[in-house]
Structures are given as structure tokens and as C-alpha cells.
């Protein structure tokens, strides 16, 4: 499959990329790892006139801790994130999530920023990042904006990113030392996209659940925090009975996706099953 014709521009810096975006106008797309965009272009779902390649911008390919904050550059690949000792020790569920994306060759190319900008409902990171209360840092002609991921994700392939902005970083507080976190997914076996993904970060204090954050990918049009599940866990005894009762609320009030992989009824059921698995792994 061949994409429509386009002009190719390689950006060396973020400033360069913003300048190119301003020059190319509405018909430009940013190319990062290309593992969502190029397939979409082959299917001609996307037909940009200009591609601005940011994959060589080294200033956004990093992972570091700054005080209590874990900073992941938008250009960090899934392999970078899965193998990062900072992520493994300070936000283990994010390393676990990255290691479950696609396969080794896909993980060598796909990037954090690309996943968030594309906003595929089946993407894995959003669940883990919502459970981590992550923020997205974007840059545009007017400077920098920092947006909570929950507000950044607007819907199916839709985000708060303006056409003249690019994502430069994702940041989150490092996981409290007494918290445990995990990401569990049921995947489509060929594409390895999530059919249901559930992230959970839980703190248990003297046998009681003092904090719980639970989020889903690939269940609805956008990833979401399951606050009814969280509220049913908080303050309760850390037990299987608590988990089983809490996960019943997993998709309350949620319009569950239906596609040729899973009906909404089946997907809603899987959401409860995977929430239970995730919570049992951390409680």
C-alpha cells in the first residue's frame, strides 16, 4: 500500500519543528515513530501535504527524574521506556505497559508523544498515565502549556493539541514508595493492540486501602479513570471481597466500545475481569 504524495521535512530541533508547522499550515502532520501515522496514510485515512519528521530531535528523547517528578520526553521510544531503570523503579506500571506494546521492532520505533497525539482509544499508555495523574507538556508559538492528561484526551483520535503545537514531554509524580502498580491487558493477538487494558496503582496501609487509582484503555472512546471503582476501594479492607465488589462498578455509566474484536457486552465483562486481575496483583 502506498500513501498519497507529500513533501518531507526533517526537523532538527523543537523550534525547527514549530517553524515548519507554522510554514506548512493545516495540511502538515508530525511524523515521530510513524507506527500509527504511516499505516493510516497507507490506508489513506490521512493524506497530509507535508510530513514534518521529528524522530531525529534528540532534545525530546530522554527519561529523567527531577526531584519528585518523572519526566519522559515525547521522543522516548517504547523500548526506551520499558528498559529505563528510572521508570522501572519510580513508575513500574509504565515500564510494564511499554513492554506490552506491539513487539520488539514496533517498540524500537513508536514513541510516547506519538501515542498521545494519535489518541487511539486502544493505545496502552493512557490507562497507566491516567492512574499516575500524568500531565502533558506541549509547545507552540505562544510557548508552553501543561495539560492534565485527563483534559488532554478529548475523544476518539481527538486531543487538546492545537495544529501549531507539538507534545514535548509527559510528566508525573514518582510512585509513592508504599504504592504498587500494574497494567494488565487483553490483546488482539495479531496487532497486539489492547482490547481491554487496565492500570491500577494502590497503596495499602495496615491492611486497609488508603489510596487507589484505576484507569482503562480501549474500553471507551477515550481512556478514563474508573472513579466508582476507586471509591469502592478506598478505606476498605485489602481483601478479595473488596476487589470483587469494587470491580462491579468498572463500566457504570460508560458507553463501552463495540467493534469486530469485541461487542460492548463482552468488552464490558472483560473490563471487570482485567480490573480484578490488576487489583489482585497489587493488593
Amino acid at each position: 500500500m502506498i500513501t498519497t504524495a507529500f513533501s518531507y521535512h526533517k526537523a532538527g530541533t523543537v523550534a525547527d519543528a514549530l517553524k515548519l508547522l507554522a510554514e506548512c499550515g493545516d495540511d502538515a502532520k508530525i511524523l515521530a515513530g510513524g507506527h500509527s501515522l504511516i499505516p493510516a496514510m497507507k490506508l489513506r485515512l490521512n493524506q497530509p501535504e507535508h510530513l514534518i519528521d521529528i524522530s531525529g530531535i534528540s532534545e525530546i528523547r530522554y527519561i529523567r527524574c527531577e526531584g519528585n517528578s518523572l519526566r519522559v520526553g515525547a521522543g522516548a521510544t517504547h523500548a526506551d521506556i520499558a528498559n529505563s531503570s528510572d521508570v522501572q523503579s519510580h513508575m513500574p506500571m509504565l515500564a510494564e505497559t511499554a513492554a506490552l506494546i506491539g513487539d520488539p521492532a514496533v517498540r524500537n520505533k513508536g514513541t510516547m508523544g506519538g501515542v498521545l497525539a494519535h489518541a487511539d482509544p486502544a493505545a496502552d499508555y493512557p490507562a497507566a498515565l491516567l492512574a499516575a495523574d500524568a500531565e502533558v507538556v506541549v509547545q507552540g508559538p505562544g510557548g508552553e502549556r501543561i495539560i492534565a492528561l485527563e483534559n488532554f484526551l478529548l475523544g476518539l483520535f481527538d486531543t487538546d493539541l492545537a495544529e501549531n503545537e507539538i507534545i514535548v514531554e509527559v510528566r508525573m509524580n514518582i510512585s509513592p514508595s508504599n504504592a504498587k502498580s500494574t497494567y494488565q491487558k487483553f490483546m488482539q493477538p495479531a496487532s497486539r493492540y489492547a482490547i481491554v487494558g487496565c492500570a491500577a496503582m494502590v497503596t495499602v496501609d495496615q491492611g486497609r486501602i488508603s489510596d487507589a487509582k484505576v484507569a482503562f484503555s480501549s474500553v471507551a472512546e477515550k481512556a478514563f479513570r474508573a472513579r466508582e471503582v476507586e471509591n469502592a476501594l478506598k478505606g476498605q479492607e485489602a481483601s478479595e471481597a473488596t476487589i470483587k465488589a469494587a470491580v462491579k462498578n468498572a463500566v457504570n455509566g460508560v458507553e463501552v466500545l463495540s467493534d469486530h474484536f469485541a461487542s460492548s457486552e463482552y468488552r464490558g465483562h472483560l473490563a471487570k475481569v482485567y480490573a480484578e486481575r490488576a487489583l489482585k496483583a497489587v493488593i
Binding site: A5, Y8, G34, H35, D53, A105, N108, K109
Partner: protein, 163 residues
């Protein structure tokens, strides 16, 4: 409109003008006539087009040729240690352990396995199967592919020890 690129493929430098929308796999197959790298699903799922770019396994059906500019590419044609018919231990393993039937997936399997063995010279069966998650074989059921890679890993470790 052509964009000039320079790439090193299997140790040899090439200069070419490519259309920006040309995929790397088509540059390798149609321009350089290296047809060992296959196009399977064309959606980055099946792994038949797996090559190494700058030392990492990647799927060449989902990379533009212009993105390889300045890069180092290794394909199945570059696996033979003397470039003259001597088999790489992975190629030998696939032959000895019957790791292929139709052979369509084999170049991608070998490139994915080569990336694995560089990181992990002594992988367990589970690690081999994980490393092949992005490479589909519709003939063998994977069993002999795993054995082929174990054969190569054993041989390569012995070569390191005795070499």
C-alpha cells in the same frame, strides 16, 4: 520530487534519490534489488519485512526510505559472514532444525532472532517466543523456529568461547 539520501546497506554505501512516500522495504527490494526482505501484511504486524536499522530490529514496511538517510541498514543479504554463501549460525540453524517450510517469514525471523541474540546470547524458550511476537509464521507452528534459534545461540556461544 526526489529527495537525496545516503544509506549504508550491509556495509556498502549507496546514494539515491527517493520519492518521500517510498517505503524503506520498497527501496531495498525495488531500487537496490535486494529481495530477501519480504512484504507480508504491509501493516507492521507480521514481521516479514524485519531488518536492522542503526543496530535495532525494525519493520521496513512502516518506515519511509527518507527516514533511513544517513543510517546503517542490515538485511538478510548481509547475514552471511563472508558474503559468499557461508551460512550465519542462524541460517544454518533454520536449515538443520527445519525452521522453515514455505520460507516467506524466514528472513524476518532471522533478523528478529539476530537482534535478540545480540541482547541476550543465551535466551530461554520463553524469551525466544516473546522476541518473536512480531513475526508470524503460518507453516511451522513456531516449534522448529525456536529450536533453530536455540541451535544458533548454542553455536554462537561456543564460537565466542573457543574463538
Amino acid at each position: 520530487m526526489g529527495v537525496p539520501i545516503q544509506v549504508t546497506v550491509n556495509g556498502k554505501p549507496y546514494k539515491a534519490e527517493v520519492e518521500p512516500r517510498q517505503l524503506l522495504v520498497h527501496f531495498l527490494r525495488d531500487t537496490l534489488r535486494m529481495t530477501g526482505t519480504h512484504v507480508g501484511c504491509d501493516t507492521s504486524s507480521c514481521g516479514a519485512c524485519t531488518i536492522h536499522m542503526n543496530g535495532e530490529a525494525v519493520k521496513s514496511c512502516t518506515i519511509l526510505a527518507v527516514q533511513a538517510d544517513g543510517g546503517e541498514i542490515k538485511t538478510i543479504e548481509g547475514m552471511s559472514p563472508d558474503g559468499n554463501g557461508t551460512l550465519h549460525p542462524l541460517q544454518e540453524g533454520f536449515k538443520e532444525e527445519h525452521g522453515l517450510q514455505c520460507g516467506f517469514c524466514t528472513p524476518g525471523m532471522i533478523m528478529a532472532a539476530d537482534a535478540l541474540l545480540k541482547e541476550n546470547p543465551n535466551p530461554s524458550e520463553t524469551e525466544i517466543r516473546h522476541a518473536l511476537e512480531g513475526n508470524f509464521c503460518r507453516c511451522t507452528g513456531y516449534h522448529n523456529i525456536v529450536k533453530s534459534i536455540q541451535y544458533a545461540a548454542d553455536k554462537m556461544r561456543k564460537e565466542v568461547t573457543h574463538g
